[in-house]
């Protein structure tokens, strides 16, 4: 929890700093928008954390997010009789959404089985999945866009609970994140399954020799990862409305970055659900902060000027933050092990010297 706590403090400081520079940061519209963005990332960052804690990786989730949205748009998007290629078939959302989620789950199952039954490397299998599924999405949308049109799904992204009608305080994606976090947190921290996830990441051989069904547990983590990506895909589809082949590109990397920022170790065996959420918050707050940050000052002539960050710096800043976070973490590790070494040396000195030359 050390890492989670540190990152939580960093998050709070970041928030306070941004609020100080621009009070609109905590304004109602920005907060609603920001929490929606956090929630949509957090949902699949939690899912991929299961995989990463076992020591695996899932690169396919960005493509799964895209594909779920495309499937929903294809099946349940509004039907335009004069231009059928621009919209969907117009089936009920009660068909489109479950089919999309089922496809996501099956993709996870297939990748998990390939990895565990054939002993393939997760990186390669999910890289293949990432490219293949992206191609499937492209084929379905035919290079253009599929419009969801006027279907009630849009309400999922824009609506919410509490607040006044039309002006919700808590967007639905946040509610979904809450549910995913509760279920995910229960699974990871309070069930035998979760214990096995950690054991596999901590020492795979020990897990094997303890009679743990390692392959089944690992396969399930890929299903969980893909399913949460599917759920996030539904939210993104609702949010964007127009599904193109671009949706979800590189999202797996955001999820990995969020998880790692929140203390999920790529070495396996370490990480928490709350950490993945904190990491997602940091990613999105930085993203949002680059827009919100302003510095009001007076130039030499005394005129009032406002300094803002260039949007193009987003990736530079996020990349730098990730590097700084892992460097700080490593430094903390080294300092701690030095302290242990020193303590051991002191203990050794305390024992009386015998027969020493």
């Amino acid at each position: 929890m050390r890492r989670e706590l540190g990152m939580f403090v960093a998050l709070v400081l970041l928030g306070v700093g941004l609020w100080a520079s621009n009070h609109d940061f905590l304004g109602a519209s920005n907060v609603v928008n920001l929490t929606r963005q956090i929630a949509m990332l957090g949902i699949f960052a939690i899912g991929i954390s299961f995989v990463i804690i076992t020591g695996g990786i899932d690169l396919s989730i960005g493509s799964i997010i895209g594909l779920t949205g495309v499937i929903i748009a294809y099946l349940s998007g509004q039907h335009y009789p004069d231009n059928p290629a621009a919209g969907g078939r117009g089936y009920s959302l009660w068909i489109g959404v479950p089919v999309a989620l089922a496809v996501a789950g099956l993709i996870g199952l297939a990748q998990g089985l390939l990895i565990t039954r054939l002993n393939l490397q997760p990186f390669i299998v999910t890289l293949g999945g990432m490219l293949l599924l992206r191609g499937v999405s492209q084929t379905i949308v035919g290079g253009g866009t599929l419009s969801l049109g006027d279907v009630p799904l849009a309400n999922l992204a824009n609506g919410g609970v509490l607040g006044s009608p039309g002006n919700p305080l808590v967007p639905y994606p946040v509610v979904i994140l809450f549910v995913v976090a509760l279920v995910g947190g229960y699974l990871l921290h309070f069930t035998v399954f979760g214990r096995y996830v950690y054991a596999i990441g901590g020492n795979r051989e020990a897990a094997e020799y303890s009679g743990i069904p390692v392959r089944r547990v690992e396969t399930l983590t890929y299903v969980i990862s893909a399913l949460t990506a599917g759920v996030a895909g539904v939210c993104y589809a609702a949010y964007i409305g127009q599904m193109s082949q671009q949706v979800g590109i590189a999202y797996e990397l955001y999820a990995i970055a969020a998880a790692v920022l929140g203390g999920v170790s790529l070495r396996g065996g370490e990480g928490t659900v709350i950490g993945a959420i904190i990491g997602s918050c940091i990613m999105r707050v930085i993203d949002n902060g680059i827009n919100m940050f302003q510095w009001v000052y007076r130039d030499a002539s005394g005129a009032r000027r406002v300094f803002r960050l260039d949007n193009n710096w987003t990736f530079i800043i996020i990349g730098a933050v990730i590097l700084v976070a892992v460097v700080l973490d490593q430094v903390a590790h080294v300092v701690q092990s030095r302290r242990l070494t020193r303590r051991a040396a002191v203990d050794a000195r305390r024992t009386p010297a015998e027969g020493e030359a």
């Binding site: 214990r195 020492n203 020990a206 065996g269 015998e354 027969g355």
Partner: protein, 497 residues
């Protein structure tokens, strides 16, 4: 266990082996590396289902086709590399795979596991609370966690593979007490070890495997060191197992180490080694010998002191600096630090001096092969070709490749960390002969060894370390097992330098 056979592609690892273990008995399993001890253990543990033969527990036939079967039959394995998860706590490790839930989705009952762990920990004499993270425990304490885990599964048979290989003397004693206690409680114990003293001290019976076959069994009364070794190697040990060495060399000092302070060590270390001398380093595992050598080799920072090579100041910051001065290290874990396993014999031999074989940055493969061929011939490495990846060679031949890799560079000082670890008896004698030859040619050798015989048989002088201090430097005259053992276990003795 009767008529067990296990085949792997290309080899028969076990051929018609039978084993009988009674309640309250300690059966020691001895054999050289590759004799089939570990395979037999894995068959018992359900990891390798046998190709033929049958296994009975308490008279009832059992099929062990996976780890869970073995656990149900009351068999628990304690591997040499402990099978624990360092990121879980003690209780979590004890009940790993046995959490008492019927389904994967069942709740993890931490408090109940802790309650149940407490009496088990008391039985193995571990004072830590069950919620201690495993990473905070010493190797010996972790081993007790493994035993507690076996007990938690109501194991009636515990198989231990080289359990003392990383324990200190005192910790081993503690383990033996526990083994005696378990035997008194009626458990059957299979104890795999190649440390004869332990086998003789613990075992009610000794069973020896050789080349995957049952080579013989000895009762406690008839078991002696010589008889077990004779069964292991299938012949009496030759009397010149260790080569004859000339009396202590008096050549120039090649390497002198003065007050070297290694990070983590409580006191500085000084010693010197002459041309043609083999300087042994005795001590228990963890006594600081490897760390000291890594500092000499520049792989670990030195906090103080000075070193000289042939009189010149030597201050290695990196192994490159040491290699430039002709100081080479053949590490203990040769598979991890000594060799690039998937690369060929030739590429491994040429690796440290690769620049010499390059012309304008292009590798001169003919020269590389010539040098490698010379080393392969010098050490009689058994390999079908220079292109064979070293991963396919036996331990002894791998070690020869490591030696060849450094010898190709004309060393001054060669540091050998456990030069014969994991090597069978025949290949050991060869390594010893090569060491003696190299010393005779004027090379200074620093040899870390945890095998008393090797230390006594090969060294001109022996530096004995205990808890990261030098406890004494014993010359060949007056070098006895008792004296070295006393120093390395920290027993007081007047300084002998």
């Amino acid at each position: 266990m009767r008529g067990i056979t296990k085949r792997f592609p290309g080899v028969v690892a076990l051929q018609d082996v039978s084993l009988h273990l009674s309640r309250g008995e300690v059966l020691a399993l001895a054999g050289e590396n590759g004799a089939g001890k570990s395979t037999l253990m894995k068959v018992l543990g359900g990891a390798y289902p046998p190709d033929a033969g049958e296994i009975h527990v308490d008279g009832a036939p059992v099929r062990l086709s996976n780890v869970r079967d073995a656990r149900r039959a009351g068999i628990a394995l304690i591997h040499q590399e402990l099978m624990l998860a360092p990121n879980l706590d003690v209780a979590g490790n004890i009940f790993l795979g046995n959490e008492g839930a019927s389904a994967l989705w069942g709740p993890l009952r931490r408090s109940r596991m802790r309650e149940r762990a407490a009496p088990l920990l008391a039985r193995v004499g571990l004072a830590h609370p069950p919620q201690t993270p495993l990473s905070g425990l010493t190797v010996a304490e972790r081993q007790m966690v493994e035993i507690a885990k076996a007990l938690s599964q109501q194991a009636r048979i515990i198989v231990m593979d080289e359990p003392t290989s990383s324990l200190t003397g005192g910790e081993s004693e503690r383990l033996f007490q526990i083994i005696h206690q378990l035997r008194a409680e009626g458990l059957g114990i299979v104890y795999i070890s190649h440390r004869m003293e332990e086998v003789l001290a613990l075992a009610d019976r000794v069973m020896v495997l050789r080349d995957g076959r049952h080579a013989g069994g000895l009762d406690r009364a008839e078991a002696t060191h010589e008889r077990i070794v004779a069964l292991m190697v299938g012949r009496e040990l030759q009397s010149h197992y260790f080569p004859e060495r000339p009396s202590a060399p008096t050549g120039d000092v090649v390497l002198s180490v003065d007050g070297l302070l290694v990070a983590g060590a409580p006191a500085p270390v000084s010693f010197e080694v002459r041309r043609g001398e083999i300087l042994g380093f005795a001590g228990l595992v963890g006594s600081g010998r490897t760390e000291l050598m890594e500092a000499v080799f520049g792989a670990r920072p030195a906090l103080g002191g000075s070193m000289r090579v042939e009189g010149r100041v030597f201050r290695p910051q990196h192994p490159r600096d040491a290699i430039r001065e002709g100081v080479y290290l053949a590490p203990e874990d040769r598979k991890r630090h000594g060799l690039v396993l998937p690369m060929s014999v030739a590429a491994n031999v040429s690796l440290p001096g690769l620049r010499r074989y390059a012309r304008f940055g292009f590798l001169d493969r003919r020269r590389e092969r010539k040098v490698a061929a010379a080393e392969v011939a010098r050490f009689k490495v058994k390999t079908p070709s220079l292109e064979r990846p070293v991963v396919n060679l036996s331990g002894g031949n791998q070690q020869k490749v490591v030696l060849g890799k450094w010898l190709a560079l004309a060393p001054r000082v060669l540091i050998l960390d456990e030069p014969t670890r994991g090597i069978d008896v025949g290949a050991k004698a060869e390594i010893y002969r090569h060491m003696a030859e190299l010393a005779a040619q004027g090379l200074a050798i620093l040899m870390i060894s945890s095998e008393m015989e090797e230390v006594l048989g090969m060294s001109d002088r022996v530096v004995v370390m205990h808890e990261r201090r030098v406890r004494g430097i014993v010359p060949r005259a007056g070098l006895t097992a008792e004296r070295v053992a006393a120093l390395m276990t920290g027993q007081a003795e007047a300084a002998a330098v």
